[in-house]
């Protein structure tokens, strides 16, 4: 019975999507020939963009498909390096575009934007030097997500700084409401490194000596950032080094966490999961990112998601892919309320929904965009590998940061970024 109704719901949803997409794409979006093959991450907003673009191609009667997977980063460089490239487009974020730029597999879009991109906003165009290398369609940032009911009970305001977060956490624990009221995606690896990046930038740090690839994290800002993370972890589930953003979201849904720094793209749908207790759904609230150490710049980073077009494909394929993806992010998709809620769209005519306040606050407060330098990926990997020793209490902050710099330097020498 469950199976059956599930299948029915699936079919209905599929029909709805097709109908909706068909409404805007039935004319084939002005595509005459070529090939469309998209690779990208897998979450609702990207499903919408990719799905709409593919239905454009299908309506035009050309080969069109998409491969949307969480492992997109493992395959997009290889899939675009061939000649002709397997994928004509990769949907990426400001961190993952670096690998595509470094390997020189994406095509400057200047001519296509001029010919077919009239509807695009100037701030959607990602320019590197004179080249337009990508078209952004949504923004993302990490910001505060909290339980308004718990804070109200204790007469607390939502924290605007990490120091206030610590005080609120202590008050919640002291009142016996929750044992570990702070949540954080502190899993060793990418997540832990990202939380460090947030805090480090919040303390005014810069990852590299300006204008060079020399590391610059073993500084006062780095030590302060680590000490703040350690202080926060005292209020987290003791298993925090194994909690990625999925596990942290689950902790929040289970009602074990009242305060956490979470991705805007996840916050919007955080309490939608089946089985979330009513008190969590009712108490759930979103606020802007927090500052730290008396700084004015939030301890967070700004992100965009966008699409690119492969270099090693014919002009015909590039044109078809470009036209289809422009349709995939056209203002028309926002007519569907569900789609409008999926992300903080950078599309003309987008009206922010309630779930978007966190990301908007992040942008207004001057949050620093995630640094997309050619060697930032190596720094992120080094941070993810070496900071767990400090968080687990095995070494000092200075030692951990010295290890990060040593690991980064070794990797950057190998990749040819440092002498």
């Amino acid at each position: 019975m469950y199976m059956k109704s599930f299948a029915l719901a699936g079919a209905a949803a599929l029909m709805a999507t097709t109908a909706f997409a068909g409404g805007h794409t039935a004319d084939g979006c002005g595509i005459e020939s070529g090939r469309i093959s998209i690779v990208g991450n897998e979450f609702p907003a990207i499903q919408t963009v990719g799905g709409t673009a593919v239905s454009c191609g299908e309506a035009a009667g050309i080969e069109a498909r998409s491969n949307l997977t969480a492992d997109h980063q493992q395959i997009n460089v290889d899939g675009m390096a061939g000649d002709p490239a397997e994928y004509t487009s990769a949907i990426i974020a400001n961190s993952s575009i670096v690998a595509l730029i470094n390997e020189d597999v994406i095509r400057p879009l200047n001519d296509l934007v001029e010919a077919y991109g009239q509807g695009l906003q100037p701030n959607q165009l990602i320019r590197v030097g004179d080249d337009i290398l990508a078209v952004a369609f949504m923004a993302n940032a990490q910001h505060l997500v909290y339980r308004a009911d718990v804070l109200d009970e204790l007469g607390l305001e939502p924290p605007a700084t990490y120091e206030a977060m610590l005080e609120a956490a202590e008050a919640i624990r002291a009142a016996g409401i929750m044992e570990n009221p702070v949540g954080g995606a502190y899993a060793a690896g990418w997540n832990l490194a990202q939380e460090f990046n947030n805090m480090f930038l919040g303390y005014g740090g810069t990852h590299f000596v300006p204008g060079t690839a020399e590391p610059n994290v073993n500084s006062e800002a780095g030590i302060n950032a680590l000490n703040m993370m350690k202080a926060l972890s005292e209020y987290m589930n003791p298993d925090f080094l194994t909690h990625d953003s999925n596990a942290t979201s689950a902790e929040f849904r289970a009602g074990n966490v009242a305060l956490m720094n979470m991705w805007g793209s996840r916050a919007a749908v955080l309490t939608d999961a089946e089985g979330t207790p009513q008190e969590v759904i009712d108490g759930f609230a979103i606020a802007g990112p927090m500052t730290v150490g008396g700084g004015t710049i939030p301890a967070s980073t700004l992100w965009w998601d966008g699409w690119t077009v492969a270099k090693n494909i014919s002009d015909e394929d590039a044109e078809a892919t470009f036209k289809a993806l422009v349709q995939g992010i056209s203002p028309a998709i926002l007519a569907d309320d569900e789609v409008a809620k999926q992300a903080v769209w950078l599309i003309d005519g987008y009206e922010p929904t309630e779930a978007a306040v966190g990301v908007f606050a992040a942008a207004e407060m001057g949050t620093i965009p995630y640094p997309y330098l050619p060697f930032m990926g190596l720094m992120h990997t080094a941070l993810g590998n070496e900071l767990a020793d400090f968080m687990a209490g095995r070494e000092s902050a200075e030692q951990a940061l010295a290890d990060v710099e040593a690991a980064y330097t070794a990797a950057a020498r190998e990749q040819g970024f440092l002498e």
Binding site: I101, N123, D239, F240, D244, P374, L378, A392, R413, G416
Partner: protein, 342 residues
């Protein structure tokens, strides 16, 4: 067999081995001696949804020219093998001269990624292998003494850990040992410590991984030994019984000597497998507490910038590690071969 017949008989196997075993190894070894070219960096004005800034990017044309001239990259010799991410000779040399005690020296060594991974990899290999052989043997003897109607069912259940995909198996165990999971809660109750968490402590995480390793590989030993038990000569067993041997003495003096070649076989295979431990570290999200050589390779390739040369070097070191582990057996086989009358 005539040489000519042997040649044609062996040719398909040799070709397959060349393509699937020799070629990848040659490729990995080559890669480990070469580095990507130095990136030609230029400053550009970058713009996006959040404004413009001056930033560094790679000069594609200049870099492409370098690759044109030398497609393999920069020749690095043994540089990658000796750098901090691998054998770290310079760092160890420095630790040797500056540290004042053995414990200080070792703490510096085990803070280096390669040696930290090697410490866990070797501990895992040398604890898991004997333990799973003993457990597999015990299960085999127990199942063999069951009534034949029960055996089929028991064999099926004993094999389950091996049937379950390693990643899935480790995820299941990972959730069970969670502080709120079935096993985690039970252990808290046993230890009378409500704050005890297996995932938060390095020694407990190591123990969990090793327990998983034994659990998942014991069925392999069990199957091999169970098959072996079917060939134990009944005459010898019966005569030992007539001589008044107890059940333990029968196992000790008849069964075990008969199964010794199988023990060597299982030990060999499991030494190799355990040295390449990988899935449980991912499944348990254990990287904060335990890393292995295979995990390093995965991590080098999984970042936003793929470090192919570093990963290739760790792969070669893993192959060398396996060769060293197996060398006692290989040397014995070679001696047997040499000692054989022509």
């Amino acid at each position: 067999m005539k040489h000519r017949t042997f040649f044609w008989f062996f040719l398909p196997t040799a070709l397959a081995m060349l393509v699937f075993i020799a070629a990848p190894i040659v490729s990995v070894v080559t890669q480990s001696f070469f580095l990507p070219h130095e990136a030609v960096l230029i400053e550009t004005e970058n713009c996006g949804p959040f404004g413009c800034n001056t930033s560094i990017t790679i000069d594609q044309e200049a870099t492409a020219e370098l690759w044109e001239e030398a497609p393999l990259g920069r020749f690095a010799g043994f540089d990658i093998y000796l750098d901090r991410g691998h054998l770290a000779t310079a760092e160890i040399g420095q630790a040797w001269t500056t540290s004042e005690s053995w414990s200080e020296f070792w703490s510096i060594v085990f803070n280096l990624p390669f040696y930290r991974a090697l410490a866990f990899t070797l501990t895992y290999t040398f604890v898991c292998t004997p333990a799973l052989i003993a457990l597999g043997f015990a299960i085999a003897v127990a199942v063999n003494s069951l009534h034949r109607h029960l055996r089929g069912l028991m064999i099926f259940f004993s094999l389950l850990p091996m049937i379950v995909t390693p990643l899935v198996g480790s995820l299941i165990l990972f959730w069970m040992i969670d502080a709120r999971g079935v096993l985690g809660n039970f252990i808290q109750y046993l230890a009378d410590d409500p704050d005890l968490s297996l995932k938060a402590s390095t020694p407990l995480m190591w123990i969990s991984l090793i327990v998983y390793g034994i659990w998942s590989s014991a069925p392999f030993a069990f199957v091999v030994f169970y098959a072996g038990l079917q060939t134990v000569p009944q005459d010898t067993l019966e005569s030992s019984m007539i001589d008044g041997a107890t059940r333990w003495q029968q196992i000790r003096y008849v069964t075990i000597p008969h199964l010794m070649p199988l023990v060597t076989f299982v030990a060999l295979i499991q030494l190799m497998d355990n040295f390449r431990v990988f899935e449980p570290i991912i499944g348990f999200t254990a990287a904060a507490h335990a890393t292995s050589l295979s995990w390093i390779i995965f991590n080098d390739l999984g970042g936003e910038t793929r470090q192919l040369s570093a990963a290739a070097t760790t792969s070669v070191l893993t192959i060398l590690g396996v060769a060293i582990l197996l060398s006692p057996v290989l040397i014995r086989t070679w001696r047997d071969f040499r000692g054989r009358p022509a």
